[in-house]
């Protein structure tokens, strides 16, 4: 049942991506700004402009532009960026790892914080401290990532300048990287000073992304823990003399985890979408920051490529969450 649902979801991916592509394509073509006007040097002749329009296919009718683009995308060619004059595929490939590392760090931090808060909250059940924790949690949940980014920038970048507030790596630490996964690569090659500097740059933006997500995980998990603790099996374990902490750890937590993963997993896409602004605020060189520049520069091929990249990531994440839930849940293992 569950597996057939996943298969059905797989089948829906191509039409969804096609829809995303079509909407972006049409939207961008009604933009009043002319991308060619932004790239020509002053004094270019009308003939030059016409040639450039033809080079980027902008002189064709909308439908034939779309079909050409679809055919190219299907064969892995996402076109050339108009403003950066490089292949979109290469540009996105160079920036995507930065965003993935940032998002992964944020998710890890959020899980750590969220699970801790939920467990502490469960142990405090029924006390005044629990109310305080819940209220604080609601506050963290209500403020979105980009506002946290601005608050953290103000707090730890300006008022109490402890951490860098811009970029991915100190330019003085210019080292050659073989991949674009700087953090993973520097950890694997044991260049710990570089890894430490990368982490210092990532700390504030990833914390901004992590805080609202951590609050969400904490709220969901805490509710599930409370529900699981009231179940018969937990009560029976209690009467058999196991301590509350042991039961929470061994019986209640694994059972509460499955619905929490199912409910919060989907929200990871929101965190990923949040990278757009948070990267912008901290001048972090990921695809989110690049996307805003692409919009400002009316760089059609780049915007299309970036939005498709985000859409693929969103869909892949949703699927991964479903698979994870299926793997975690013993009842679905034989299904």
């Amino acid at each position: 049942m569950r597996w057939s649902a996943i298969l059905k979801r797989l089948a829906l991916i191509p039409p969804t991506l096609l829809g995303v592509g079509a909407i972006v394509f049409v939207l961008l073509r009604v933009v009043p700004g002319d991308p060619i006007a932004m790239m020509i040097p002053p004094g270019a002749s009308p003939a030059d402009i016409t040639r450039l329009r033809a080079l980027y296919g902008l002189d064709q009718p909308l439908l034939s532009q779309f079909i050409t683009w679809l055919g190219q995308v299907a064969s892995g060619d996402f076109g050339r960026s108009i403003s950066l004059r490089q292949q979109v595929f290469e540009l996105v490939g160079a920036r995507l790892p930065a965003t993935l590392e940032l998002a992964a760090l944020a998710v890890a931090m959020a899980l750590l914080m969220g699970i801790t808060v939920a467990l502490v909250g469960s142990l405090l059940r029924g006390t005044r401290a629990e109310w305080l924790l819940d209220t604080a949690n609601g506050f963290f949940l209500a403020i979105p990532d980009f506002l946290w980014a601005l608050i953290l920038l103000l707090g730890f970048g300006v008022l109490l300048p402890l951490l860098p507030i811009s970029g991915r790596l100190d330019p003085q630490l210019a080292v050659a990287f073989r991949t674009h996964f700087y953090l993973i690569e520097s950890l694997l090659t044991l260049r710990l000073d570089v890894a430490a500097d990368l982490l210092r740059h990532m700390l504030l933006p990833s914390l901004a992304l992590a805080l609202p997500f951590a609050a969400l995980v904490a709220r969901l998990l805490k509710a599930q823990l409370a529900e699981a603790e009231d179940q018969d099996y937990a009560q029976i374990a209690r009467t058999r003399g196991f301590s509350r902490t042991t039961i929470l750890q061994r019986e209640v937590f694994p059972n509460a985890l499955i619905p929490t993963v199912a409910l919060s997993g989907v929200q990871v896409t929101l965190l990923l979408g949040g990278t757009v602004l948070v990267e912008r605020i901290f001048s972090y060189e990921g695809i989110g920051n690049m996307a805003i520049d692409a919009v400002i520069n009316r760089d059609f091929p780049l915007i299309q490529g970036l939005i498709l990249t985000f859409a693929v990531l969103f869909i892949a994440l949703n699927l991964a969450v479903d698979l994870l839930v299926a793997l975690l849940d013993p009842r679905l293992r034989h299904g």
Binding site: G138, F146, L147, L154, V158
Partner: protein, 296 residues
């Protein structure tokens, strides 16, 4: 028989309202208070603001707030880099925020609820196509979609509102669709059919009133979101232009001189946070107050 049905499901007697208010608890009161405060500030901006928000005084630019050394009593919260009164701009920005919040969330609600109701009630290919449309929408990063949209329409308040409506109608559509299906499966919906109500009548008289608590809650939350989207679009440089004051615009300007004058960025951030928390608490409180399950 028909009269019985037409009397409507929510005929609130005063005691019912009172118990609903009690159920809402502190969240409803604090949230409602903050929202009311925001509305009042927006409404009476010209009365409260000490200066014209667009009035420039380059001689007294980047003054700190009056309670910090170097501040002037005439500018209680200091001035920005053009010498405009920060307090007055904060107050007038509430107008921008409230108009964006009200118009955008109501429009998004109308479109989303209509599509959600139709999809939930009629099922079949109609439901399939609305659901697919929602799926496609959900595959977009919302922030990026609103940025692209606002860029398409061009800067300005209308653009901000349009971006919010086009991006956020799915919030209402998804929940309305699911809830309509759930309500239609209940006995009272079947009873309405037995009584001879047409599908449209049943939707209007029976289903829609039962969706009200949910919709009101969503609306409150959506208004908070709308205020945030305005900030986002300002940050990218495609929100209101020129002299129109907005919190997003103030934050963006403040970001550029954050080392010299951190309060210019900090104060509008605080205003946004208070408003968003207010709308969230209000929504939470309303849900508790209006939830039909808890009404018994």
């Amino acid at each position: 028989m028909a009269d019985l049905v037409l009397s409507g499901p929510i005929t609130a007697t005063p005691s019912r309202w009172r118990s609903a208010l009690a159920r809402g608890g502190a969240r409803l009161w604090i949230g409602g208070g903050l929202v009311a405060l925001l509305l009042l500030i927006a409404l009476f901006a010209p009365v409260i603001a000490p200066h014209d928000p667009a009035e420039q005084d380059l001689m007294s630019a980047q003054l700190p707030p009056a309670f910090i050394r170097g501040g002037e009593a005439a500018f209680p919260l200091g001035t920005d880099s053009l010498g405009r009164c920060v307090l007055s701009r904060l107050i007038y920005s509430a107008r921008t925020a409230v108009s964006v919040a009200l118009i955008a969330s109501l429009l998004a609600a109308v479109i989303g609820i209509a599509l959600g109701l139709i999809a939930g009630a009629f099922g079949g290919w109609i439901d399939q196509s609305v659901s697919r449309l929602i799926d496609v929408w959900m595959a977009f990063p919302p922030v990026l979609l609103s940025i692209v949209l606002a860029a398409v329409i061009g800067a300005g308040l209308t653009s901000v509102i349009a971006a919010i409506v086009v991006v956020d109608w799915t919030r209402f559509a998804r929940i309305t669709r699911a809830e309509t299906q759930a309500q239609l499966a209940r006995d009272y919906a079947a009873a309405a059919r037995v009584l001879g109500l047409t599908r449209a009548q049943a939707l209007r008289l029976e289903i829609l009133p039962n969706l009200v608590p949910l919709i009101v809650t969503l609306l409150a939350v959506e208004m908070g979101i709308a205020i945030l989207v305005e900030v986002i679009l300002s940050f990218v440089g495609i929100s209101v232009t020129g002299d129109t004051a907005s919190w997003g615009g103030m934050i963006t300007e403040g970001r550029q001189i954050v080392y010299q004058a951190p309060w210019i960025m900090a104060l509008p951030i605080a205003a946004v946070i208070i408003s968003v928390i207010g709308f969230n608490l209000f929504g939470d409180g309303l849900r508790a107050a209006l939830d039909p399950v808890q009404r018994r």
